[in-house]
């Protein structure tokens, strides 16, 4: 456990000192969301109806934006090999890195989401559910994304390839995240959809680090 905390602390310190991935991610999130009223027109009804989908799609793209840096920097300067040589299990290393990634990108997105929801005229009934779906969904995105990031290490055109690998696997999270918000806005029970989101997180939590560690192992061979 202390090793896990050590990895998280290291990555957080690196993220804070090496300039701010989080600021960029949130800026991307805000800017892309702001594009939608221009693209769709400022009609409040239309924006309200599309707000859940717009927020989720842009949040998903924003969290993917910083994924290719997850292992790449450590892979290129060789510290990933040193980390793999330590007695810490590689799976634990992945969990630590994912936790740091989520803290630097997922969490800022969650903080920014309600403000943007106001700009998109989202019904106030949906705010709580929006936060809750993001809280359950973004860690899943980071976990699945970590697997993709580990797979494309050393590949040509890794960044574009990463989106091709990861986006199809993101679709279920998107569907249930938006579905839960829409249900809450319409006054329907969102509990079942939230449980499904939670279930996906619980499934991804052990499986994704396992797959990512396997991918890292073959990348370091």
């Amino acid at each position: 456990m202390s090793r896990l905390a050590e990895i998280v602390r290291r990555d957080l310190r690196l993220a804070l000192r090496q300039g701010s991935d989080s600021v960029m991610v949130v800026t991307f999130f805000v800017l892309t969301v702001v594009l939608f009223p221009f693209g769709l027109g400022p009609e409040a009804n239309l924006l309200e109806r599309t707000s859940a989908g717009v927020l989720w799609v842009t949040a998903l793209l924003a969290s993917m934006l910083s994924l290719d840096r997850l292992f790449l920097a450590d892979y290129e300067d060789g510290s990933l090999e040193l980390l793999a040589l330590t007695p810490t299990a590689l799976e634990l290393l992945v969990i630590g890195k994912v936790a740091a990634h989520w803290l630097t990108t997922g969490l800022p997105l969650i903080v920014a989401a309600p403000v943007l929801a106001v700009l998109l005229h989202m019904n106030a009934d949906g705010f709580g559910t929006l936060l809750f779906t993001m809280l359950l969904g973004t860690p899943t995105l980071s976990l699945v994304g970590a697997m993709g990031a580990a797979l494309v290490l050393g590949a040509r055109r890794g960044g574009v390839l990463l989106s091709l690998l990861v986006l199809p696997l993101y679709i279920p999270v998107l569907i249930f995240g938006v579905g839960a918000i829409d249900a809450a806005v319409q006054g329907l029970p969102a509990r079942g959809l939230l449980l499904l989101l939670g279930g996906m997180l619980m499934a991804a939590l052990p499986l994704a680090p396992w797959a990512a560690a396997a991918a890292l192992r073959q990348a370091l061979e």
């Binding site: 494309v152 590949a155 690998l165 199809p168």
Partner: protein, 254 residues
Amino acid sequence: MHRFANPARFLRLAAAIQPWTAGATLILLGLGLYFGLVDSPADYQQGESVRIMYVHVPSAWLAMAAYSTMAAASGVGIIWKHPLADLVAKAASPVGAAFTFVCLVTGSLWGKPMWGTWWAWDARLTSMLILFFLYLGHMALLNAFDDPTRGAKAAGILALAGFVNIPIIKFSVDWWNTLHQPASVSRVGMPAIDPAMLLPLMLMGLAFTTFFVTILLMRVRSEILAVKVRAIRLTQIHSVPGSATGELVGESLR
């Protein structure tokens, strides 16, 4: 299983099996097309367009079967480092992608007169589309590395991770009550389909399966030959002119 890890033995075996599966494909496809297009009733609701089903349903089955084959081969490749398994996975994915594409296109052609739309964001259709993207990702990852073995390993992990989609496709019509009709063949007890329609469907299903096996064998054989060619080229580059390249080729193929 490791008996067939020897490429030479596999090549002999594949060459012996392939004419039989190819012949079976021709016969079954001929029979299936005859019963499907000529000697089967039109549906009382769907009319003649029910015949699209005889291509649509088998290609959907094979799209999933090809993915399962690919995932199983990838698993074998990762666990036992079976040299042929990676080649099987590599050979299966474009074929599976083609089946998925055929399934989506025929479904769309059928959907226009029946549902009144080319496409609907229904659970079954969406999960099938995701399957298509998974195939594309698998193929892209395979070719993304300078070292082909590296690509095979990475793609293998992706194939196993994407396998979660297969049960979702299968049960999507039961879990979500949407546009696509539920399963009518693989039901407990009697299939909910007329025997006159079941016969061509089964024939076509078998024909598609033998076709898949034939193509898979052909592709694995050509992959083995491609590996050989690559090894020969490498030894030719690295060896001094006039040295015994033949031995080196044999060595690199194990």
